[in-house]
């Protein structure tokens, strides 16, 4: 049995996902150290966290005292050495294998043997991330859903060498953090993205094949299947460039034709139509109304 988890460190806490994970940990009573390379990002995270928790109080989801306690459990640092006190380190840094491996290798020299390393990767192999960390048996995948502070689900994925004790400790931590863990194998995209990325590609190919307009595809999926958001609206939200990156992560590993980036997607990215963030993707957002691209 691993040491009980009392202190959690979040690497990449200056980003959206990392910030959300830090809220989950601090809200659940864990001392939480937010780490990133730039102090500005961490300051922004703490400010946004304060705002999020204040709204939670206003909505009656927590008391003012609970909010103050959660904020008092949060600290920030740009020094990796400060993470030596963590029982669990969750990384949410750039989705690049070499970056994650280098981080865990450095942390292995800083953290005690009992510390568990968790990766929030959505596409990379946990086993590959663990390789070279010096503690393959204490590395596990904890994939949160965006926005982490709102979504209960965590995909828990042990790598080939992850020990049963690590899995048990990580699982227990998820539950104590108020989350709902589901166990998946260490396969590309785990459950969520393995189903979602090819499905979104299929929808893009349907537009390209002239099956229907983006509006009608989304309308059909929402009305027929009861989804809250249409798949093309979702791709616009996530970003068409992000969808390309997901495809580039999946396809070389799976060689599944459905995971390959559709030509239309690449053309739209080349044209700067990246979705909501550029005001136009499959729909346009300039006037707040949606029109077919």
């Amino acid at each position: 049995m691993s040491k009980p988890i009392a202190t959690v460190a979040v690497c990449g806490a200056g980003g959206t996902m990392g910030a959300g994970i830090a809220i989950v940990a601090a809200r659940a009573g864990f001392r939480t150290i937010c780490h990133d390379v730039a102090i500005e990002g961490l300051d922004r995270t703490l400010k946004q966290t304060e705002g999020f928790l204040t709204k939670s109080v206003e909505r009656g989801k927590m008391t003012g005292a609970d909010k103050d306690a959660a904020m008092s459990r949060l600290s920030r640092t740009t020094a990796l050495d400060d993470l030596g006190v963590a029982d669990l380190v969750i990384e949410a840094v750039f989705e690049e294998l070499s970056v994650k491996r280098a981080l865990f290798k450095k942390l292995n020299a800083i953290c005690p043997d009992s510390t568990i390393f968790a990766s929030n990767t959505s596409t990379l192999s946990i086993t590959e991330i663990a390789g070279g960390s010096g503690r393959d048996d204490r590395v596990i995948g904890l994939h949160f859903c965006l926005p982490a502070q709102m979504m209960k689900l965590i995909e828990v994925s042990p790598g080939i060498k992850t020990s049963a004790a690590t899995l048990e400790a990580a699982w227990l931590w998820c539950e104590k953090a108020g989350q709902l863990p589901v166990k998946t194998q260490d396969k590309p995209g785990f459950i969520l993205n393995a189903l979602l990325v090819p499905f979104n590609n299929d929808c893009i190919r349907a537009v390209e094949a002239g099956v229907a307009s983006p509006e009608d595809i989304d309308k059909a999926i929402k009305t027929g299947l009861g989804y809250k958001m249409g798949p093309l609206e979702l791709v616009d939200l996530v970003g068409l460039d992000t969808q390309v990156r997901l495809c580039e992560a999946f396809y070389p590993i799976t060689l599944d034709p459905r995971a390959a980036a559709p030509p239309l997607l690449r053309r739209m990215v080349a044209a700067g139509l990246l979705g909501r963030k550029t005001g136009r993707g499959f729909f346009t957002y300039n006037s707040g109304k949606m029109f077919g691209a």
């Binding site: 859903c145 979504m151 209960k152 689900l153 995909e155 709902l180 589901v182 166990k183 998946t184 194998q185 396969k187 785990f190 459950i191 969520l192 393995a194 189903l195 979602l196 090819p198 499905f199 299929d202 929808c203 349907a206 094949a209 002239g210 099956v211 229907a212 307009s213 009608d216 595809i217 309308k219 059909a220 999926i221 009305t223 027929g224 299947l225 009861g226 989804y227 809250k228 958001m229 798949p231 034709p257 459905r258």
Partner: protein
Amino acid sequence: MRYSIRQQGESRSFPQGDAFLAAAASDGEVVIYLGVPLETDDTKGAILIELGLECLGVHTGERVGEEGSNVLGFARYRNGGDAPTQLVELVRQPNTRPDAIAAARAVFEASGFVVVVASDQAGRIIDRLVRPKYNAALRFLDEGLATSKDMDLTCRLGLGYPDGPIERVERGGLAYHYDVTAALFAVTGFAAYAPARRAMVAKQRDGA
């Protein structure tokens, strides 16, 4: 807009007792064919023929991509044995008359349906898009990626879906999933539509 119905046998879109059947007139500007061979009539605003897994061209014939008239296909979407949804997929051809599309849309929307228009391709919109996902989920189940419960929970909690892929395809019927994917695979040849092992088993047991 008045519509009339010519029906033989049970309709998947409008089961017996459906209010849409009861509201039909004896003669209408739009004629709806449910299980009855198509008879063309250019004087009608639109002629709508209910489709199963086949393309509209099976009923109308095709002409080097120039086909189209006042005849449209349609199907009210339902997941196998589930009750029909409010979604009507209209199927058009390259030269389908715009006024016929408008008339068809008006008839269904006046009855409270949500209408989308698809070109005459296998699976229309929904089956074309979701059946490969259900196949993948069934394959993941065989490969031990996760339990069916966890896959379904992940889709409900992680994506906000009302149900997960396994519970949905099971509820609709695995043998029905076989029928749909076999039809799609026959037309497209895409491996993603090849019926999943569990669907094949269900179909074989269905026929046993």
